[in-house]
Subunit: 249 residues, 2 copies
Amino acid sequence: MSLSKNKIKYIRSLKDKKYRNINNTFVAEGTKLVFDLLKSCKCQLIAALPEIINSNPNIRSEEIIIANSEELKKATFLKTAPTIIAVFYQPEFKLNRTNLKDKLSIVLDGVQDPGNVGTIVRIADWFGIENIICSEDSADVYNPKTVQATMGSIARVSVNYTDLSNLLNEYSDFPVYGTFLDGNNIYYEELSHNGFIIMGSEGKGISNKIINYVNNKLYIPEFPAGSASTDSLNVAVATAVVCSEFRRR
Amino acid sequence: MSLSKNKIKYIRSLKDKKYRNINNTFVAEGTKLVFDLLKSCKCQLIAALPEIINSNPNIRSEEIIIANSEELKKATFLKTAPTIIAVFYQPEFKLNRTNLKDKLSIVLDGVQDPGNVGTIVRIADWFGIENIICSEDSADVYNPKTVQATMGSIARVSVNYTDLSNLLNEYSDFPVYGTFLDGNNIYYEELSHNGFIIMGSEGKGISNKIINYVNNKLYIPEFPAGSASTDSLNVAVATAVVCSEFRRR
């Protein structure tokens, strides 16, 4: 059996959010990532070189196709064709008060770059943050670039998209943190064990309509103080420094 | 005057390290980055839309070419053609004991991804780390992707390539830090104000021949402790957390 033109077309269609949503699926590539996701995500389709299939007889997938390199090359989103491509069903994560209460969650306000969103999912996984809540205009977590950047963390961290004003109105009793150039030095601030950490978009930071919800403005100090010659840290890098500060307390 | 085929060919040739080294130049694109670099780097060539040239009469470059979008589209390394493309001379940074003494420096041991190297240069700039020293097999800092990721920090942070064993033998009196899965919790360690912080490659970490030089093994704890389900943090993200820890003391 080989990977048909139709299947290749289907896999490639999943580059578009539209088709990912219609099918409720997403693509992951490469042995490390695919086998990591197989532990927890339901798999619709595996296409892989015969040696991969043969040496892993326990792969669970609705469909398993032995493919050749040429076919994988046509289907891949990567520069170099992987030995395995998989289509997984999007995991279902529900947002509710019990899930969020007494926990820290990351809120992404318009983060545009799929790689940044993927790296942030990986950071959340490392620092034990179970929930990421994104504004509707943030990059889609099932974008192939994001999926690759998460390195499997996508199966362990719940990522939801919602209207952030509604969310913050509903949870108005939660502490809300955000990073600002005029915020308080994060190294000296009291940081709670629960609440929302809002990270803004790469170009514009936290949007105007969301700023008012922030009741704890934080700042990651440059060194030496007052020397800042670079505008800011990359949003994923800033997220990591902030999460590390919350967790070291 | 327009951007000739030969100039386009020259700009595009600078995607290759070989041609960057022959010419001692590199490419930067987009107004924000180019104008930031113009403050401190010597410029060989500017190609830009007429409105950019006309509204910036003080641009200093050996050659200034008014180009149209079609020409910029042919020359660019970006997905969307920028309004300005510049070729700069590589800044000269010298590595010597006076430069390194009493300072923290970042040492990259085989970091492969140009984007990661660029992000690390930006992190160094934020945290006031003036020197980055890379193994010869690390990604080239003048790769177009790296240059774009540095967001201008490339002009302020000295990046050198050298044999790391020689370096660490020469500076054997310096404290040498590295991150390891079996290292000591970085939140509780004493961290000096000087020395080398070694960051390993994305896939393999710090190489075997370099490990022996590390006299302070550090670990960024996952949360909750012992739960690590993701293998590691991205190298740029880990660099940021480590630098932040050194600077908060």
